[in-house]
Assembly symmetry: C2
Homo-oligomer: 241 residues x 2
């Protein structure tokens, strides 16, 4: 099976959660949005999104095509892939727990995004900067520690398996948490350097994931996109006080 | 099986998406947050949330307990319940499509919530009203029609089965869309009365769902909580211009 990932070119964005699972598992995939061409593949993503080839319209990328099956939304795609790529235990309770954690990460990512876009996605950051400063202040003081403490607590209560979020082995949720923490270090370096000393299990998990051979190779490849100020995780110093 | 739903008392909130599926299917359940008692059951929800009885801590309700299995997040709970309550086709492609639609509704609900809380969940509405007016303006002009048009398009491209979002039969996603549209009519009556004439399939779906016998009985029972200004869908006239 060669998977096809449809996601906008130029930003790691939500597509990166899918890429990390595919890369970690050594799966074959085509990153359609990054096809060579004048538009960098964006047209192919846009056409697919609107349902031309597939019947069903999807609201937003990422979308994964796996043979005849088409799956959209990060948590949905990862749930589908994880069983096939051995990135989640097969029993129902573990899969439901993993999916619940992934959906908490989904909510966390949306809140991270909205620190720089509290008024509207179609407005430039510069036109909502004052509100962003206000929103980011509450985010850094309350929401960021609340989410990070939660994941630390999940590790601490995992029956002695503090290296993993789910059960006794590496899973796709570990990969997604790695991506979120890495993005937060990029976007909020001051806040993260203040908070991380109190989060030893979470930082150990991020280290462990970064050292997995295929992940390490991927992170230094040109397939890995740098964080930038068009994506979810943006470094605006005025939001990181 | 008697299901136990853990959700805060006093608001329909995200718990309502779960209630609608249980009610529509005629499933037996206890709404733990509404247990009689001085605190209205809130303590039982809070204790369960923090993992006392169940081992794993959860980030937020709703949480469903089904025997030994514990599932959190609306989309995760509904995915689990739907197979058992005959509220989704059993094949993998349909389930992935249904879950993707539900996750689009999840995102939509978060955006609806943030119209009245653009700066932070821990601040009162009155302390972020100016930003809320700005955010709601973009929501009503762009995001609301974009989401609603999307669901209308999903119905229009469903192979002639325009009464249903998924396949050829009623599903849990129809119930959730009913709840979102009903909430929007409460919160944004002016905007919705302007938009709905262009959304005939969506409004027909909402009518159809409201007339299902168990849903109709539920909606007039005291188990159904009214929308109010503590929930997701709040009617603030200044946000509905």
């Amino acid at each position: 099976m060669i998977y096809q990932l449809y996601y906008w070119p130029g930003i790691p964005g939500r597509g990166e959660f899918v890429r990390l699972a595919l890369e970690d598992a050594g799966a074959e995939y085509e990153d359609v949005g990054r096809r060579a061409g004048a538009d960098g593949g964006a047209n192919a993503v846009s056409e697919f999104l609107h349902g031309g080839e597939i019947g069903h319209p999807h609201f937003a990328p990422p979308i994964l095509k796996a043979g005849d099956l088409v799956v959209s939304h990060v948590a949905n795609i990862l749930q589908y892939l994880a069983l096939r790529l051995d990135l989640v235990p097969a029993d129902e309770a573990s899969r439901a727990w993993a999916n619940g954690l992934q959906l908490t990460l989904t909510d966390f990512v949306a809140e991270i995004h909205d620190t720089h876009h509290p008024i509207g996605v179609s407005l430039y950051y510069e036109n909502q900067q004052a509100a962003a400063v206000q929103r980011a202040e509450g985010f850094v003081q309350e929401r960021l520690p609340k989410f990070l403490d939660y994941f630390e607590r999940v590790l601490a209560t995992n029956g002695g398996n503090e290296a993993y979020l789910v059960g006794t082995a590496h899973s796709y949720v570990d990969l997604s948490l790695f991506q979120v923490v890495t993005g937060l270090r990029y976007a909020f370096p001051r806040a993260m350097s203040r908070l991380e000393p109190e989060l030893p299990m979470l930082t150990a998990l991020v280290d462990r994931v970064s050292q997995r051979p295929r992940v390490a190779a991927y992170l230094t490849s040109d397939r890995r996109l740098d964080f930038n100020e068009s994506g979810i995780f943006r470094h605006y110093p005025e939001l990181d006080r």
